[in-house]
């Protein structure tokens, strides 16, 4: 049984069709890379899954339940954790308070949430800074904090939106190790990424989006050789 099933999702913004009849299934334990040129509709797709946007057509089924039209705050409780392309830490609160936000709804009380938050911070390596204000972190740390918050909610499905953007090579390697670790603890991951080597290295399966449509879906090797993908990224000239 697929953990997440996306069926015929369509989202229009005025005349622009951002997501155009997208369907795919994600099984439990997969590590799926979602790639495509800018503006392909990847973030919009995430927004639809987490109900920050309502689809014009189509359904989203998670753990056998139709979650298409639920309010935005339901996804975290249902087991979907998400990071955002532009990080939004709560600057005036401490790092720990930021992390425990993910845990607060499921937790019995604030103490329990705090413990979960600390665990998540330990996982990403930020527990040394737990009582600092989030505003004092650098961008790489803020991304880790965002990840910690998502992880603190004990998600079954983790949606990562360009979590490696803006990081240097060593930071990327560190993050990849972290993501592997999270994946090994039985968390299904879908990651939107532009850092190709990371996606190729980490994912078992890649879906390519272009102009709101799925143009390819397969293993990294298959994708690398897919004509449509090459055309989408590099243009016709590169097609042999």
């Amino acid at each position: 049984m697929a953990l997440l099933s996306i069926n015929g999702l369509v989202k229009r913004f005025g005349g622009l069709v951002a997501v155009n009849d997208v369907s795919f299934k994600v099984g439990k334990g997969e590590l799926l890379g979602l790639i495509g040129p800018n503006g392909a509709g990847k973030t919009t797709l995430f927004d639809l899954v987490c109900h920050f946007l309502k689809p014009d057509e189509g359904t989203v089924i998670f753990k056998n339940r139709d979650i298409t039209n639920k309010p935005p705050y339901v996804s975290a409780v249902m087991g979907i954790g998400r990071t955002f392309q532009i990080v939004r830490p709560l600057l005036n609160l401490t790092v720990l308070d930021n992390a425990l936000a993910g845990a607060i709804v499921k937790a019995g009380g604030i103490e329990e949430a705090r413990n979960k938050g600390l665990e998540a911070l330990k996982l990403v390596g930020l527990n040394g800074k737990s009582s600092l204000k989030a505003g004092s972190l650098n961008i790489a740390e803020m991304k880790k904090l965002e990840l910690a918050r998502a992880v603190a909610s004990d998600p079954e499905l983790l949606l990562l939106d360009e979590i490696l953007a803006g990081l240097n090579a060593s930071e990327i390697d560190e993050s990849l190790k972290l993501l592997n670790k999270i994946h090994e603890s039985d968390v299904t991951i879908i990651m939107i990424e532009h850092v190709m080597r990371a996606v190729m290295k980490l994912s078992q399966r890649i879906i390519v989006l272009q102009e709101g449509r799925v143009i390819a879906d397969g293993s990294p090797k298959e994708i690398a050789n897919d004509k449509m993908v090459i055309k989408a990224y590099l243009g016709e000239r590169y097609l042999r």
Binding site: C50, F52, P71, P72, Y73, V74, S75, A76, V77, R82, F84, R88, L90, L91, N92, L93, T94, L96, D97, L100, A101, G102, I104, V105, K106, A107, G109, I110, A113, R114, S131, K133, R149, S153
Partner: protein, 336 residues
């Protein structure tokens, strides 16, 4: 602030002594001071309890309500009506007042929270004024004339006393109980969620927090305590009318107390009330009563001056200002 006090107390025994002295002074005022001082501090405690319940939505959640006094007014009226028309015991009356106010708060939340940002403040104002206007024109509950409790012999059962002394302890007791309950709420899950909503409602939602749910909870709890406070007001003053219990100036006064003391600390509203209200009480008595000549309203002018001064010069309030200057970082885990 409380954390600050605790941590500092561990380091500095002198602070414990100072706290005890303050506590002792507060308890001793009715015995030492004249009825005038007692009355003004009793009023300060009343406002403190209102300011505390108001700050749950304002300081902790970021929603500035100027309609909080409506719950106070309803509470005052409910207890008055129960005592006057149905001979209900005031101790029971104040509980029912609280519940009535809480129900009103629950009903009001639905429309009010649909107004966003600054419009919310305006909406709360309009809401409270509508209630006042309704009561002004409602003959069955006294309309503009108000309602008056008949004179009764002194008794604890009927909460009737001649001077302000017993009421002083009564309201102080209310304040302390309310503070304890609210403190636990604020340090717990509800308080945390409110603060996250205040910081960034969008992020709160993505973390799974339902903003409307928590805002409504804050509104209801705030309304509950304001209603109870209103009930006790009735027992002390024995006369109420829409102008003394439902006028918007009450919310302004409460807001001034909160802002002066510091919105973002728990004890801020209390400290603010203890400063602003006795001063205002004094000013009012010096410059003539409500019907006294040219200086009617001077205290409101002073509220305006204090408010603008504090906001421009000391926006974090008295308590925030003090905290900034404390030697030790008081911020343990973002909860202030």
């Amino acid at each position: 602030m409380i954390e600050t006090v605790k941590t500092l107390a561990k380091k500095d025994k002198r602070l414990i002594v100072v706290s005890l002295v303050i506590a002792f002074t507060i308890l001793a005022i009715p015995f030492v001071g004249n009825p005038f001082i007692t009355h003004s501090f009793m009023l300060a405690f009343l406002y403190a309890s209102l300011a505390l319940s108001w700050n749950l939505l304002c300081g902790y959640c970021g929603f500035f309500s100027l309609g909080h006094h409506a719950y106070f007014g309803i509470g005052a009226y409910v207890t008055m009506i129960l005592m006057l028309f149905y001979d209900v015991n005031p101790w029971i009356g104040v509980i029912i007042s609280g519940l009535a106010a809480a129900i009103l708060a629950a009903a009001a939340s639905l429309p009010l929270f649909r107004a966003v940002g600054r419009w919310f403040t305006l909406a709360t104002l309009a809401f409270a004024e509508t209630i006042k206007l309704i009561f002004i024109n409602w003959d069955a509950v006294g309309a503009a004339r108000g309602l008056q409790l008949p004179v009764k012999p002194e008794s604890l059962y009927w909460l009737t006393f001649a001077g302000p002394e017993i009421y002083y302890y009564l309201i102080l007791g209310l304040l302390i109980i309310e503070a304890i309950i609210l403190y636990r709420i604020v340090r717990g899950k509800i308080g945390y969620c409110l603060q996250v909503i205040r910081e960034d409602e969008f992020t709160a939602m993505s973390a799974g927090i339902n903003p409307l749910r928590y805002k409504t909870i804050a509104m209801i709890i705030g309304g509950l305590f304001a209603g109870i406070t209103g009930g006790f007001y009735t027992t002390k003053y024995r006369f109420i009318d829409p102008f003394s219990t439902m006028d918007w100036i009450l919310s302004v006064e409460v807001a001034v107390c909160g802002i002066v003391g510091g919105l973002f600390s728990f004890a801020g509203p209390i400290v603010g009330s203890l400063i602003v209200i006795p001063v205002s009480f004094y000013v009012r008595s010096v410059f003539g009563g409500p019907l006294g000549g040219k200086f009617f309203g001077v205290h409101r002018l002073i509220y305006g001056c204090i408010l603008i001064a504090v906001v421009l010069v000391m926006p974090e309030g008295v308590l925030g200002w003090i905290e900034k200057r404390l030697p030790m970082s008081a911020r343990i885990s973002g909860e202030e």
